[in-house]
């Protein structure tokens, strides 16, 4: 087992999680490749995301818009902005060709807004591309375990 690689990808993914929980979106937006996609599918078995309905299928433009909306104060469902704390763990490298690394991990996120505490559990798959001494995100696919059930508004980024 390549524990050095696990340590590298875990450090990067923990940093991303920390940015999102602390609203450091400018830096988060720069963590992506130009063609990067942030995807939250509905069907847990789905792999053809472009041709199916998802909760989110964000390219760079949509990620920027999602971040802008979150901070704009124009949206009543994100004012006040929900507070989140997420744990990411159970890292497993699924593929590694030296420049691209695919890693799957577990994410447990708690959200609090107004008077409600919510819990979202997801399998998250990252496709990372080596860049400088670190990585950029090419794909982040968040498979909520209750994605086929009814959900309530999720205005922030999973």
């Amino acid at each position: 087992m390549n524990t050095e690689l696990i340590t590298q990808v875990a450090a990067f993914i923990w940093q991303e999680a920390d940015m999102l929980d602390h609203g450091e979106y400018a830096q988060w937006l720069e963590s992506w490749t130009a063609d990067g996609l942030y995807i939250v599918p509905i069907d847990p078995q789905q792999t053809d995301f472009a041709n199916t309905l998802n909760y989110a299928y964000d390219n760079a433009d949509m990620r920027e818009k999602r971040v802008a909306r979150l901070g704009s104060g124009e949206s009543i469902s994100t004012s006040p902005v929900p507070r989140t704390v997420r744990d990411v763990s159970r890292f497993r490298v699924l593929a590694n060709d030296g420049s691209n690394v695919t890693v799957r991990c577990a994410q447990n996120l708690r959200e609090f807004r107004k008077d409600v505490l919510k819990h979202y559990t997801a399998d998250v798959t990252f496709e990372l591309v080596r860049s400088g001494g670190s990585f950029l995100i090419k794909r982040k696919i968040v498979r909520l375990i209750n994605s086929t059930d009814t959900l309530q508004g999720i205005g922030y980024i999973l």
Partner: protein
């Protein structure tokens, strides 16, 4: 001295729906909700599926009419049945999962099996019934089903008027809505499901509420191009709301997008310029490109069909009452069946942009409705005001109409509610 509760109890159900207002208890009273399940949802036509959701023999969909679970299924002769999802032996559901395909329905408890039309086909170890089991009497309960423009409705009320009569002038708007297939049949290709803690009628009203759009959807409007933002600046525009009878209404927000097969010569909006280029590159003719691109953005109106379905610009909005203060909503995405992949991708992305729990529109609607329900617990003798646009309301060939942000559609729905609830 009469206290407020006594005054409220003195109001009959009919008193609670006035020409220009409805009583707050319509959102909050659990007893009224119980009556609605019987007098509204079990007494009229209720939408259950679009034909594309059950495309083949054996295709089924599980849904609810009011709170009663039903299976919508296509049999081997392509006939659609709506069956109560309840074994006639000891009541277990015989079908689970939102959608699927099957040859029969088999109860998991004791193995009673039913064919796709609901007939009881077999029971294990029948000898104990000594040949006295009336199998012909023990099929799954089958409801009356009718279909118009691919939209399937069912009813518990066997002697109700034909669906086409119930829909009346709404039919022509359904036909117009289906033109967003762009020359292809329309297909439901998934849905966003969400719940909000509020009464179902709050959502029913919202589909015919243009007034909220610029305020509640400000963050959405900030995320679209200038031309789209201007197109969606319809409050104060030349659109209108029309009462179509039987509780149905249409809200025309963008009059130039009523008929998607007209004005095909109009310039292609800049947001679709790239899509048009891609289609031309795929050898679609200029006319096809124009028709498809025009269809991708959806229709310029919301058609509200009482009590649970709306054809809303580019999607179907389905509402399902759960409790007096809990409602489930499905926003079903529409694609062009067999249409160009790039055009369908554009429709999917547009749907994701506004709809669903992570969309830029739906969560803000949901928050507003939640606030309505919360506020409605204050002042139990107060009324919900529905008098906007009343002064300017005028008779039309199909009913009555007023300006685009009039509450005419809500008044139409509540008059139908009153008719059913006091019948």
């Amino acid at each position: 001295m009469t206290n407020k509760t006594d005054a409220q109890h003195a109001l009959t159900l009919g008193d609670r729906v006035q020409a220009d207002r409805v009583h707050t208890s319509l959102y909050t009273d659990p007893a009224i909700f119980e009556q609605e399940m019987d007098k509204v949802f079990s007494s009229t036509w209720v939408w259950v599926a679009h034909a594309s959701e059950i495309p083949e023999a054996g295709s089924y969909k599980n849904t609810y009419i009011g709170r009663q679970p039903v299976i919508v299924v296509r049999d081997r002769k392509q006939k659609v049945h709506v069956l109560l999802n309840r074994c006639r032996h000891r009541a277990a559901t015989v079908c689970e999962g939102k959608k699927g395909k099957t040859n029969s329905f088999v109860c998991p408890y004791h193995g009673w099996s039913y064919s796709l039309d609901g007939a009881l086909r077999g029971v294990p170890h029948p000898e104990s019934y000594a040949d006295q089991l009336e199998k012909g009497e023990l099929g799954l309960v089958s409801l009356r089903v009718e279909e118009y423009a691919g939209m399937i409705f069912a009813t518990f009320k066997n002697d109700i008027e034909p669906l086409v009569d119930y829909l009346g002038p709404a039919k022509k708007w359904m036909d117009l809505f289906m033109k967003q297939g762009g020359g292809y049949p329309i297909k439901v290709a998934g849905e966003h499901r969400f719940r909000f803690p509020g009464n179902w009628k709050i959502q029913l009203e919202n589909t015919t509420d243009a007034y909220h759009f610029p305020l509640v959807h400000k963050s959405f409007l900030s995320s679209v191009d200038k031309q789209t933002e201007e197109m969606l600046d319809f409050v104060g525009g030349s659109g209108y709301v029309e009462d179509l009878g039987n509780g149905h209404s249409v809200m025309v927000m963008i009059p130039q997008l009523i008929d998607l097969e007209e004005n095909l010569d109009a310039p292609i909006p800049e947001r679709f310029a790239e899509l048009a280029e891609q289609l031309r590159a795929e050898q679609y003719s200029d006319e096809e490109v124009r028709r498809i691109v025009r269809a991708v953005g959806g229709s310029g109106f919301n058609l509200n069909i009482f009590p649970n379905i709306a054809c809303s610009m580019a999607f179907f909005r389905v509402l399902q009452p759960i409790a007096v203060n809990e409602t489930e909503i499905h926003h079903a995405v529409i694609t062009m069946d067999g249409g160009p992949q790039v055009a369908n991708q554009a429709r999917l992305r547009l749907h994701e942009h506004f709809q669903g729990p992570m969309g830029f529109g739906t969560p803000d609607d949901s928050e507003a409705w939640e606030r309505v329900q919360k506020g409605a617990s204050a002042g139990e003798d107060l009324w919900i005001m529905l008098n906007r646009g009343l002064a300017g309301e005028k008779p039309t060939a199909d009913g009555r109409a007023s300006d685009v942000s009039a509450e005419t559609g809500m008044r139409a729905a509540y008059q139908q509610w009153k008719k059913l609830m006091t019948a």
